[in-house]
Symmetry: C2
Subunit: 399 residues, 2 copies
Amino acid sequence: MVRLAKRMETMEGSARIVRHLFSAMTDPEIISFGGGAPAMEALPVDIVREIANDVLTRDKRGLEALQYNNPIGLKDLRDVVARILLEPKGVHAEADDIMIVNGGLEAMNLLCQVVIGPGDVILVESPSFVHCIEIFEMFQAHCVAVETDEDGIVPDDAERKMKEYHPKMVYVIPTFHNPTGKTLTRERRQRLAELGSQYDVLILEDDPYRDLRYSGEELPPIKVFDKTGHTVLANSFSKIFSPGSRLGYVVAAPPIMERLLDAKTATNSHTSALAQVLCAEFFKRGYFDEHLKKIRAIYRERRDVMIDSIDTYLPKGTKRVFPDGGLFTWVELPGDINTTELLQEAAAYKVAFIAGEGFFVEGGGKGRNCMRISFGNVPPEKIRIGMERLGRLIASKMK
Amino acid sequence: MVRLAKRMETMEGSARIVRHLFSAMTDPEIISFGGGAPAMEALPVDIVREIANDVLTRDKRGLEALQYNNPIGLKDLRDVVARILLEPKGVHAEADDIMIVNGGLEAMNLLCQVVIGPGDVILVESPSFVHCIEIFEMFQAHCVAVETDEDGIVPDDAERKMKEYHPKMVYVIPTFHNPTGKTLTRERRQRLAELGSQYDVLILEDDPYRDLRYSGEELPPIKVFDKTGHTVLANSFSKIFSPGSRLGYVVAAPPIMERLLDAKTATNSHTSALAQVLCAEFFKRGYFDEHLKKIRAIYRERRDVMIDSIDTYLPKGTKRVFPDGGLFTWVELPGDINTTELLQEAAAYKVAFIAGEGFFVEGGGKGRNCMRISFGNVPPEKIRIGMERLGRLIASKMK
């Protein structure tokens, strides 16, 4: 009976399959390296309670948390973003260049509303984040893969494809990439921003992991090199504050921001003021620095244990990324092991991961011997146990 | 430089104009009957603080508030909706028929993602809620107006237009309508549900004001009469809990719900878990009944003072709706006074309202002598002062 919109037909992609695969895995004994959730230990619940207790009173601040707010978001929180999160990284933005959104992903949805029509081309990294691909599919975009190597997206290939496909935008996760954990070099960041200006293509920079750095040197956002307003920076509070509060932000030049506000208004009016007030106070009261130090230590240990476990338990010839931060590493298995098939047997070994194929829009079996391994939400001792199980499963396939 | 999507061109509608008009009015001395915000006195900030203090601890509940959640929403809150908000009104729904969304308006956005393609027809009441029209415009729908009278939308005209336009849906606010304050009769509710089934048209029932009843007899939602799954019920926690938390819900039959979940995932993954946990506890701990009693008393008084003020201060021949609930009344001025022009002089009289024209998709100057008057967020003594000012302004035009 339901006559669906055409865009629903293009949404039968890999994200849905990934989701269904996962919802089937409800066994609590499974150690899952699948999801990208932060560690429970990294959620600042005690701080949020303290703030709520202090702020939710019948004065201006408390009422602000419960009353309607503006589409662009709470001024306080936009000031926090400008002063604490952007300025130190070299991004000069005013509060009015920043909109607060309902989680980082909403920025992609809204930018698509503003610029993407059916058939428009979006260049994405090969591989790219499967849940953003799903958004692009809903907007009936044609996603074209751009080559990546150990340093991230290859600008020469991006330029070639800008000339060939005249894309509306390039979607890129420059820092501790999802799914690969790789980081784009400084030179390539600059080059990408320049290509956006030169070919009149938006560079959508999605940078949710950037503050979770455990080693190596900090790099400027692509947005720093943007001289023409072609780079739109999307970021999230999910990894540095809390994913459940559903807060993110987008930084864009005025002509784009004006339209993003229209799209936001016609999507959900504004982002939860309750969540925004609590998050703004978290930063304004100076909790962020110490919290970040604490969660970096948690994740650094997990990263190190994960890399050691891969090297210990997975077979010879396995390639893996050593991520300088973030929550993921990317594993390429030797031989012709198909990880999608492997996953079907993983439940019997009480372990889970995400098979690599779904992250490649080009299809053709690319990434079929790869897997995304998430270490953020698994305690170190369980990482060893889970990876030993995974090692046994893989070994059983190599006989 | 920005190459916009085509849908942005269709969004230059009246909602944007209304917004711009309003953002210009920042004078704190203006008494505004414009916005639809709840009374500050109706925001349960003390209760929310108490709940936050109790719940945001390092146990399952507190961590749930800060961690990722599901696209469909918190099971607890969906149970609350089913048991406390739907069941007593005769709507039988299970938790899985209910999705929690980021404010009531998001339900309209998501349903459009699922069913509306460019050029698809949506039947709307004449007049209808301007911010929903804006959503429909973003999805490039063609909105066609259906006649209304003192009992709300006229089913015979809806049927005529179903035959003529083959619409995808009918958007209707049956209870204490925005902007008119009118309520659809029981017979028409049933007839509308039946027309949806008969002509395979979705009935999108938007019912955010229904619990704010101050007089008259409660009527069942349209959804009660739906035997085929053609009615989709959208509702909001904005008027009964808090708009700033941005919570709403949508009730739909399984084939629609499955697609709504895809659209939700590709819009913002899920609604703020932090807000959901606090709201669920508000109901589970039994605060709702007393709170509702309290806010109804606040609004009933304001409604009564508003109606009395209209009858006292506005000129002879003025028609107004006596709303049995909600936050609005609708005023039709005598003579040929144009309320859009009137509004431009209202700032000088330190009073504001929303001009009627913008609520009519059919244009042609319809509603040009009407205005939406909101009484929810203005204390009784200020209602009298503001309406006296408005009366003087109108009188000055009638000379």
